[in-house]
């Protein structure tokens, strides 16, 4: 990855130097091995601090909404899921393609620091490096090697689009789509198999952890409304009480609102500070859409209609209970 990181820095430096863009959105490294965080760079010298490593998980595309309010041209580094997110923002008319230069980064999968901590490997950890399918943990005492899959984010394990679906320049060779080991709808089917009461109990327990921080919503590239209904006191839906029904309301509406627009980036689950598996709601909708209206991968091809934007006369009709007619 270090080779590509050099290319990231060089690309950014050149783009700023020759005036191709006014600002670069990339990642920088902070105090800790897992601390790769969004960087906004306008000066050529600043590009030296850019990085590309296994913790560049933050999706930079949603920042474009805010950044493009200024009349500038922005260069942005996007991974596979980030690129789908970008396309979705494009489709929702939230960004202007002409004002963005996309540097695509084929993504080998990101490492989940929580999994590293859980495995007891975080203590004294100085650096984590990834090569091919291996991940190397470096401490003062030495190095330890593991299979990268063991520490990948859950969302990366079922990733279908590691390669950017939209870019102006691709900074590395495409990686192989490697997604068959974990079955895509496994989690959803496990829940579907339960009885209604079991499902209810499962979700009530999950939702009851919710602290209403809105991280899932704010990180979501499909949640880009100018004003969210949950922020609108006049809409009279923004109950913040810690009661089951408010939590259910929030999470059902959140998931449903992105139906057909969810790019399956899994960021909602990743950022949830209390570990609610939110993507399982979104995946359920994706599964139903695929089953009823055919496969639709939001953000892959923004020229296609989203499933809820359109209809077909011959759509399945699960509702008709009696033949038409009669008085």
């Amino acid at each position: 990855m270090e080779k590509i990181a050099n290319k990231v820095r060089e690309t950014a430096r050149l783009a700023l130097a020759n005036g191709e863009v006014n600002k670069i959105l990339g990642w920088k490294k902070g105090d800790f091995w897992y601390d790769s965080y969004p960087a906004f760079i306008t000066e050529e010298e600043g590009t030296a601090s850019l990085i590309w490593d296994s913790f560049c998980v933050a999706n930079l595309s949603k920042y474009l909404i805010e950044q493009l309010k200024e009349d500038i041209k922005v260069g942005v580094f996007l991974k596979g899921c980030d690129a789908r997110a970008f396309n979705q923002l494009l489709k929702d008319n939230r960004v202007d393609r002409d004002k963005v230069v996309i540097y695509g980064l084929p993504c080998p999968g990101m490492i989940d620091p929580e999994k590293v901590k859980k495995a007891g490997l975080a203590k004294g950890l100085l650096d984590v490096q990834k090569s091919e399918d291996e991940v190397v943990f470096i401490t003062k005492e030495g190095e330890q090697k593991f299979s990268a899959r063991e520490f990948a984010y859950d969302k990366c394990l079922t990733c279908q689009y590691p390669n950017p679906v939209v870019y102006d320049e691709l900074l590395a060779e495409e990686v192989e789509r490697n997604n068959t080991t974990e079955y895509f709808y496994q989690d959803v089917e496990e829940i579907e198999k339960m009885s209604p009461d079991e499902r209810f109990a499962y979700w009530v327990e999950q939702f009851s952890k919710c602290i209403r921080c809105n991280a899932c919503r704010n990180v979501c590239p499909a949640c880009s409304c100018e004003k969210c209904i949950f922020d609108n006191s006049k809409a009279n839906v923004a109950g913040k009480a810690k009661v089951d029904s408010e939590e259910q309301f929030f999470h059902i509406v959140r998931a449903y609102h992105v139906a057909g627009r969810c790019v399956d980036c899994g960021e909602c689950s990743r950022v949830c500070p209390v570990g609610i598996p939110l993507a399982k709601l979104n995946r359920k909708i994706i599964k139903d859409i695929t089953e009823f209206y055919g496969e639709h991968n939001a953000g892959v091809n923004p020229s296609l209609d989203a499933p809820l934007e359109t209809f077909k006369l011959e759509d399945i009709d699960p509702f008709e209970t009696r033949a038409k007619g009669g008085k």
Partner: protein, 343 residues
Amino acid sequence: MKVLKKEKFPQIWQAINQAYELYLPIEKDDRVNFAQWTEGETVNLEALKTEISPKDVIFPQSETYLKFESDGKKLQLESVESENREYVLFGVRSCDAVSFNLIDNVFLREPIDRLYEKRRNKGTIVSLACSEPEENCFCSSFQIKPEEASPGVDVAAWDLGDKILWKPVTEKGQVLTQKFAQLMEDASQQDQEELIKLQNAIKEKVKELPLASVDPKVIKGELKEIFESKVWDELSQSCLGCGACTYICPTCHCYDIQDFAGGNCGERFRCWDSCMFSEFTLMAHGNPRTTQKQRFRQRFMHKLVYYPNNHGSYACVGCGRCIEKCPVNMNIVKVIKRLGGEG
């Protein structure tokens, strides 16, 4: 000073639970958080910090304090008394224990928040020293001593391997200790020596922590100067505007008041709110903070400048939760360093 053997834990949980509500760090789905103990729960006192701070025990995420009913022009208001029993909060780390005092400064100054006061008075707090501080801890930056009993706790405890050392510090702590004294033994000379050894070891570990050098005093200048710093533009760019940091934070205490309507009756509750949210300061005729930069600045100015001006101490205890939980790895340490001129 007493000693409580860990093998007695199940017994003492049961015993405390008879007389009090008992809150402990409880493990569920691999995550440890303070929750009310019931038989069969997995207690995890080894995990250094709970995912969310224990502030919701003293300041619940939402609480109803008023019921109302209207009938034509008539309106009835009834204040709701909390029915909570006395409770014991066991296993609070020094940082979190200090955070309670910081919230006290606000809620217990005139006019006293009676809901809070009542709940606070019902609690007996048992702290547990941090034998193994973690790499994102920086409580020492705020003069907090994780090896000692923090001011305000009722009982201080230290983990000595197969037992904990138990030292009542307040009257409430004495009462608690006396109630369950039959489950404890007196601490021996050797225990005392072990404690000193442990405390010294903790001190050493704290010194070695990667964030040990973080010092909020690097932020200098007049309020307005800091407020107008260019740094805010830069730092706030990555902020998503979610409230994760504020809700997991042990010192954040802003709240909202809302009504729940059900026909002609309903209830009024207060609930946590976050200055990071876009509608936090929204009024019918405008909003003084329309950008995320302003909201982001408010949060850190409050912790690092406004609160210290009003109460004489920083409103951060260095627990490091925001370092762990911010979706984009923005946190108060980065803010302090940057405001201090670093980076």
